[in-house]
């Protein structure tokens, strides 16, 4: 074997690890610039703060994993901040259940419209998101709503508490990533998702109920978006139809940077975990490098291009569209 092919083989071996190598490199770069960044306190608190966004990205992963997209996630999170705040006084912990069910239902509608009415998910989820946003506005009476602090703490205090120096958000995020990882890699549903993402016609020809699987994927995506909204609502102790604004694009970016491309069947929830952390680090790095306010967005875009260029595994992409 020539040395050229050797390096090619070695690079192929490194490729799957590029996302976390990128993450590590970014952490080190920022850490060298300012060692404050590397303090465990800071890293833990950064991780805890990104959890709501991470949960939404986790859901988004499933939509993207089957080759679709979920643009309704942010509106659904908005809606659940309102539902959670409204339902807390009368239903207590049941409010959480209502939120998740509402999310699942909205996602199932997106899935139905995509699979049965053959409307591309880009459009169907955008439209369902509009419905969720309208619902949020209607229910909230177009106002910001507040949870009663004592009621919040007695019902949902466990979500925002701290144990042994670790904020509970991290446990929630960790539990969800473990759960979804198990779902993705150890269950028949996860396997079916992979088949649908990587080769839908073959999945059909193997007798899988592809329609149902896709609807479930969109429901799961919206369900996790609802959990993200719920957690955010508890964290902020209130709800408003615009509270979760600004979640959508970072969540999509987190999934993509993690190495789950839009072609489907590749990547997964662990990738999204890494991708979300990359986004969090890039965001903090703006502060640590004292990037000028008017330049931040441009710098973010440029780093993003570099990060995506590094992390995507092009061997799995047949055609780059």
């Amino acid at each position: 074997m020539t040395s050229k092919t050797m390096t090619a083989v070695n690079f192929a071996r490194i490729k799957p690890h590029l996302p976390w190598i990128t993450l590590l490199a970014l952490v080190l770069i920022v850490g060298i610039a300012d060692t404050n960044f590397l303090r465990p306190v800071n890293l833990v608190s950064m991780a805890a703060d990104i959890v709501p966004l991470f949960i939404m990205a986790l859901g988004m992963t499933f939509a993207i994993y089957i080759g679709g997209i979920d643009l309704s996630a942010q509106s659904i999170a908005n809606m659940t901040t309102v539902i959670a705040t409204l339902a807390l006084p009368s239903y207590g912990i049941g409010a959480a259940l209502i939120c998740i069910l509402a999310g699942l239902a909205m996602g199932a509608v997106s899935g139905y419209v995509t699979t049965k009415l053959l409307v591309p998910s880009f459009i169907s989820t955008l439209a369902v998101g509009g419905v969720a946003f309208s619902a949020a506005q209607y229910m909230s009476g177009q106002r910001a709503l507040f949870m009663d602090a004592t009621m919040r703490d007695s019902t949902f205090g466990w979500m925002t508490g701290v144990t042994a120096g670790i904020p509970h958000e991290i446990f929630i995020g960790g539990a969800l990533v473990l759960g979804t990882w198990f779902l993705q890699s150890r269950t028949t549903f996860g396997r079916a998702l992979k088949a649908v993402g990587a080769g839908e016609p073959a999945a059909v020809a193997s007798g899988l109920n592809v329609t149902r699987i896709k609807i479930m994927a969109f429901a799961l995506s919206a369900g996790l978006a609802a959990i993200a909204g719920l957690l955010f609502s508890v964290k902020l102790s209130g709800g408003s139809p615009t509270l979760a604004n600004g979640f959508l694009l970072p969540a999509i970016v987190a999934v993509l940077v993690g190495g789950t491309p839009l072609t489907g069947g590749v990547g997964g929830v662990i990738n999204t975990l890494i991708g979300t952390l990359i986004v969090a680090v890039i965001r903090s790095s703006m502060l640590y490098f004292e990037v000028d306010a008017t330049k931040q967005q441009m710098v973010f875009g440029l780093i993003l291009i570099a990060a995506i260029a590094l992390t995507i595994d092009r061997t799995k992409l047949r055609v780059v569209k």
């Binding site: 608190s45 120096g165 902020l236 408003s240 615009t242 965001r283």
Partner: protein, 368 residues
Amino acid sequence: MSFIKKFIEQETISRRNFLLASAYGVGGVAASSMLGGVARAAISDPTVAWSYRNRTNPYWNEIVSGGEAFIESLGKPKEFLTHLINEGSSEKSLSDVKALLSKTNGELALAIDTNDAPNARPIVEAVAQAGGYVSTIWNKTDDLHPWDFGDNYVSHMTWSDEGPAEQTARILLDAMGGKGGVVHLGGIASNNPAIERLQGLKNALKDYPDVELLAAEPADWDTQKANQVMSAFLTRYGDEIKGVHCANDTIAYGVLEALRAEGIEDMPIVSYDGNPQAVQLVAEKKILATVFTNPHWGGGITAALAYHAAIGTFKPSEEPNAHREFYGPAVFVTPEDAAAFKANYIDSVPNYDWKDFWGPTNGQIAYK
């Protein structure tokens, strides 16, 4: 090479903190102390930061210019002010503040609009826990008060928009001759100022039985959206519209252009915020009135309050409640005084005394 020197210095200081923090972590010392809760009397040289929505809005630009003017009054370059831009995302707002608290070890004087009211509590809690100082404007929940946080939550300033909006509405309704239809184009529907400004119009309408509120639609503080909504209003109500009540100046621009497209030049319009461009339009009588909330002063004084509390110039907990929660100034701008106003506030920015914290304010916040 200076940056290397700076790096080494920084390194030496932060290494100490790093080791300290690690020691806490390893030793498993009480969790709360690990996460901050640092109590300190005063900070000699705090980082000063302003956290706001975005840079694409003239209102926030004015806020920032005030913040920078305050920094320059300290004899520092205006780059000393750290900008946290949340792009309308409460999530980013909170994350950025926490990141900055980490970076500065809590040695922070923060001025902030928390973007959405529910976001105020976690931010204030985080700053207080890290031992920083924070002053907020606009958004906060009614149950959150500076005096519940000792010195660290320095102050909250907001503007009561209902009264001024009612007064501009009266100017508008009078200009309409007290009869005909009026439309309202509002901000993002759930934003507090949007709600108050619409309420102001409704209050005024009680005294004008012959004026009908034809419609009130949100235009999201956005010029282009306002333009489209106004166009549609013209179709629906046509000549019935005798006046337009706008929730802010940016909306008014869109409304003016929609009217201009139809060749309507003399429609009575009032707006809010008192941006330079709007003041100019008031002088030209294209807009009948706007309300100047002096964002330049607001931006400067909010940063100044947090800063001076941080360095110990005054002790917030020893100040009366009226000095912790108060209304900001509101100045009416009408065609008669627009020229004078422009000369005083816009063409030459006044040199404010950034230690006169409460001079121009409008009394303690009252809750309904």
